[in-house]
Subunit: 477 residues, 2 copies
Amino acid sequence: MAKEGKLVEAITSMEEDFAQWYTDVVRKADLIDYTSVKGCMVLKPAGYAIWELIQKQLDERFKETGVENVYLPMFIPESLLQKEKDHVEGFAPEVAWVTHGGINELEERLCVRPTSETLFCDFYKNDIQSYRDLPKLYNQWCSVVRWEKETRPFLRSREFLWQEGHTAHATAEEAQERTEQMLHLYADFCEEVLAMPVIRGRKTDKEKFAGAKATYTIEALMHDGKALQSGTSHNFGDGFAKAFGIQYQDKDNSLKYVHQTSWGMTTRLIGAIIMVHGDESGLVLPPMIAPVQVMITPIMQKKEGVLEKAAEIKEALKEFRVRVDASDKSPGFKFAEQEMRGIPLRIEIGPKDIEAGQAVLVRRDTREKYQVAIDEIVTMVAKLLPEIQKDMYDRALAHREEHTHTALDYDEFQNIITNRQGFVKAMWCGDTACEEAIKEETGATTRCMPFEQEQIGNVCVRCGKPAKAMVYFGKAY
Amino acid sequence: MAKEGKLVEAITSMEEDFAQWYTDVVRKADLIDYTSVKGCMVLKPAGYAIWELIQKQLDERFKETGVENVYLPMFIPESLLQKEKDHVEGFAPEVAWVTHGGINELEERLCVRPTSETLFCDFYKNDIQSYRDLPKLYNQWCSVVRWEKETRPFLRSREFLWQEGHTAHATAEEAQERTEQMLHLYADFCEEVLAMPVIRGRKTDKEKFAGAKATYTIEALMHDGKALQSGTSHNFGDGFAKAFGIQYQDKDNSLKYVHQTSWGMTTRLIGAIIMVHGDESGLVLPPMIAPVQVMITPIMQKKEGVLEKAAEIKEALKEFRVRVDASDKSPGFKFAEQEMRGIPLRIEIGPKDIEAGQAVLVRRDTREKYQVAIDEIVTMVAKLLPEIQKDMYDRALAHREEHTHTALDYDEFQNIITNRQGFVKAMWCGDTACEEAIKEETGATTRCMPFEQEQIGNVCVRCGKPAKAMVYFGKAY
């Protein structure tokens, strides 16, 4: 069987070549396929189903905070993109341009949205008239395009799926509050649903979003010690409102500019899940976003009663995402396949088990095995899934803590970046020149100035001038 | 209050100018906004929420038949689009072309997908190897672009949201079965969820999809007597498989071409809902896709206890989509606004009602009022919503039956098309020349050859030659 042959071939060891391990997992767990357009991929059922679960749970959290979904066009006229100076400088070099509709050349070029601030501004300009129209708390689920040179599945692709929230508020305070609220919502989502601990903080001016007054970020640490920016939330102040003329009439009849925010998370999160939780056998999915949480695997399935018992167990577990693998592959092959795909729990049930009135449960994350009486399976699954979720989070947190270092001087800083992996916490003077020099000299970038500041020292780790903030540094994806 | 002024302004009467009525409803029910790109619209929260409900319920029905969701790129290389001859001829004149990525001209132009048959074929070519890989039952939710000259919100726009299912099968029989299965799924969905009766049938060769062997359609009749194609399902046979080389190894080791289908429904359905159910006061939404099913409207809401009682009723109704309108607008304005937006049920609750231990329920579709004891409200809402849903379907069906005519000869046919509205059932010889002549002479097109054939006569209504099929004719959107 050709297909079986392909799968049992081992994947590259993550300790040997992490990048190749990642590519192997992405392909062999059947998450994506490449296409004839460089940097554009097919999200296959196993990959897209993870995104659907992320989408559903994130969307519910948005709606609880009053956010409503909308859909704006995918095209931005060139003149509209150019209205906010910093924004166009940040995005124009990497957009895809539509120049023709059918055989006719367009009067004005349209870019395929790389992000939709300009479209939302153009819309809000008419939609917002009075203080009664505020706040506007809109979000859209869509795909965006950025013409990247280097591409990697999930992490950096020319087209990717995301959500982008865009809000407009009467006051600067409200906008700041919403910016931070959404960042914490993202962080809680990552920690509670993806079992992925994150550092919450603010980007330096150098690293902030094109056109933003302030950018906040959540940063996660991957298994190889590199950081991954996993979600961002921006406060635009009234900069876009002034560029686009978005004013409202306040209670006292005066005209005021609105204050805006935007915030986004992408299919990049799937890359993060792979690189935080994966192991030498492939993907390990946190139960809360596993499209299949429990796979029932019949043993000697042609024997009388085996498939029937498997179906019975499936029915009993119907409140979970459960399937029976009744294909004609061997049990060993099925186990390897399920491990590659990261299915959190496996139930083995064969003639001997049935005779003994029990089944075998196996955890994907720890490989622990449990002999469970058949009528205890539901209770056990209900107990194990949240346990797996929690243990995965705890392990990821322990890994991050082991790989978070403190540097008091630049020798120590360079030594850690060169010889160890992970985050380095160090003091910084706030000067972009220092930040750029550190990047040049070590390859590490400022990941964020965390909300939780620690007093590691008083002076900048590189220049020795008085320090303004503690910063997380790291090499990043 | 400027906003209030805008809304109470009456909309155009549907009997006077149906097209203008439609535009008025679309805008005043706050479903969409126009944008600076012609033919591209903003789906506002009230419009997008309808689409979300359609999406959720349709997606569940798909998944019950084994369909899995995927996501394919939005770009199609020109060479890929050209692989199937009929297909490229049908779509090339109306696609948007991307020619530049950033400042660099692309080596090959990419079109923004108008539909994704070619992309699915390119993907299936590698993804399908063996009979074990079949069937493939994939679907995607996305937006597509067709550079239309004339555009109207929902009915014909340059970018629109849809789902496109693409399946691959081992045999011609299976492909035909799936084509019809999805058409019936669409029809049942329209009838059960949108309360919109449809005619199920097959398109003539002239009207079929570019590249298809056979196209099936559901056709609905709008309030003004025009037809709207509301969903289509195509059987491609092995035409695309041969053009793209999609073969599988069968059990006997022979190589065979797959047989393919595709099927789609779009945001056009929202236009259909408006034009089937709307009335002189605006939108009328079937309860099953109403984002708000029940709007509780407090009367004299500043009086003690009124808002509290409204909140209590809301809490009791939480299994429904229910809201309280506690804004500072007048009750009369709120009623008009809720009617414009098509909210199925309104509950009025004021100090006198509270004293009497009751509330007033008002149906949007019939304006019927009910005095209901407060502790009977939940029971009454649970009874009324399905009743409204059913009555709306029955009324739409009665309207279609009143506007469905039979023509035995061409004089009668022309007379009906000119002087009456609706569908005309007539016999047809099967000749495209006759079909084109009818269109030229009367403006009516063949909508479909219904599955339920009737023997109206033996000869073609126009040429008098022996008839091959009974056809539904009509003017269409």
